[in-house]
Amino acid sequence: MSEEKWRRVDGRAWNELRPIKIESGVLPNADGSAYIEMGRNKIIVAVYGPREMHPKHLAKPDMAVLRCRYHMSPFSTHPRRSPGPSRRDTEIGMVMRYALEPAIFLERFPRASIDVYAEVLQADGGTRCASITAAAVALVDAGIPMRDLVAACAAGKIEGHIILDLNDHEDKYGEADVPVAYMPRLNKVTLLQMDGVLSPDELRRCIELAIEGCQHIYELQREALKRKYEEVVEEVKGDE
């Protein structure tokens, strides 16, 4: 079977992302927010801060502390999941923080905290990557100074084929999953995980493919941010 003819469960080509929709500034109460749909994933991210750190002893004298909470709503998966934080949620919150931290000028806000809350409303594989992508947009929406955006997507392997952006089925039944987050301007990988089995060469190809995916997602993030400000301009013009 040639690479061109082979099609995935959802009909995509091996190097094709799922349809992605990103909106910024969706939550009135948050300082910054974003909503992302990546295939059937639906995730909303809120950013609060920079604000005073509570509890105070966790504050750093020379920089802000970034805190990330990743949470899946009980109805986001089948079967229902318990609403409390799982060990998986804790680990994902941590790797999200590591993925976003290098992009933020934390040193501009000593003693403050910046809190990122990702709420997964529907999960269909690749939620940590979609959460990071949305969180980067939400951080910009909050007006936090950034070195770069962070875009994220996974690559992996199923039935011997290297593929981009695994859905839930491909994640479960595939041979490997490699989530990657990437800062396109600074050319740095900020999230890298893998489970499954890959030869070193396949792993390299997965990372390269995921980075290509991230570059595409980066454009969508920029468009989402621009669109928001175009809307503001329209509103102001309308008022005049």
Binding site: K60, P61, G93, M94, V95, Y98, V197, L203, R204
Partner: protein, 267 residues
């Protein structure tokens, strides 16, 4: 953390200077492990146990095997549960309390290497599909934290599994009865975790506690005996270039066989 943050900054200078000369603070080369030792059978009441030491880092792993119900989505597979306790005996930085994110990550990355390589053959650990399966618990107890807990924990976990024996059950009329006999778990793979720290522009193997305190990021690559990668975890507040990632994969694939020898030679 905040009051201590000035010390790592001073330390980082010294560590970077040492690395720049090609030798680390403890005299090691950049791609050199500390002394490694693995000993099996340290706790008789466990179904399998082992301790691993890397320099002054010391981890004990115990395996307990019980019978339980399978998960709904994997009715014909046994269950692997891996957890880690950062006991306050191991470091002035550890406090009693529920597992924090570092201990959760450690357990999950050790788990990922064993699970991805299917070292246990979870399908062989099913007694009655949908009803009774073996549950293999790996509990990691950190006794001394001198850096690179992950590689030591992974060595201890796999060594404990290598000598673990599971009770044999007889399946009769949809029920399981203990026979009183035991048999080895029979591992299919020996996954080896190899961790490196990026400090400045340099990748160093097997970071010490001080090096971890000042590192930009850590990357762990777990490798099976065929040289395939079965887990990766980047963990730390800075990014990596793709060249650094390629280098880390290469170092891990080259170093893993030497660690596996230590496992196989362990008594």
């Amino acid at each position: 953390m905040s009051r201590l943050s000035i010390i790592p900054k001073l330390k980082r200078r010294k560590i970077l200077d040492a690395i720049a000369s090609g030798r680390r603070m403890d005299g090691r080369g950049l791609e050199e492990y500390r002394e490694i030792s693995v000993r099996r059978g340290v706790v008789e009441k466990a179904e399998g146990s082992a301790e691993a030491r890397i320099g002054d880092t010391w981890v004990v792993a115990g395996v307990k095997i019980e019978i339980g119900e399978p998960f709904e989505d994997t009715p014909d597979e046994g269950i692997l549960v891996c957890s880690a306790d950062f006991a306050p005996v191991a470091s002035p930085t550890f406090e009693p309390g529920p597992p924090d994110e570092a201990s959760i990550e450690l357990a999950r990355v050790v788990d990922r290497g064993i699970r991805s390589s299917d070292a246990l053959g979870l399908k062989d650990l099913c007694l009655i599909p949908g009803r009774k399966v073996y549950v293999v618990y790996i509990d990691l107890c950190i006794l001394n934290h001198a850096g690179n807990l992950l590689d030591a924990a992974s060595l201890a976990a796999v060594a404990a599994l290598m000598e673990a024996k599971k009770p044999i059950y007889e399946v009769r009329d949809g029920k399981v009865y203990p026979t009183g006999e035991v048999e080895p778990l029979k591992l299919r793979r020996l996954p080896i975790a190899v961790s490196m720290a990026k400090i400045g522009d340099v990748i160093v193997l097997d970071p010490t506690f001080d090096e971890e305190e000042v590192m930009d990021t850590r990357i762990t690559v777990t490798v099976d005996e065929e040289g395939n990668v079965c887990a990766v975890q980047k963990s730390g507040p800075q990014g990596l270039s793709v060249e650094e990632i390629w280098k880390a994969i290469e170092i891990a694939v080259n170093k893993a066989p030497k660690l596996r020898e230590k496992l196989e030679a362990a008594l």
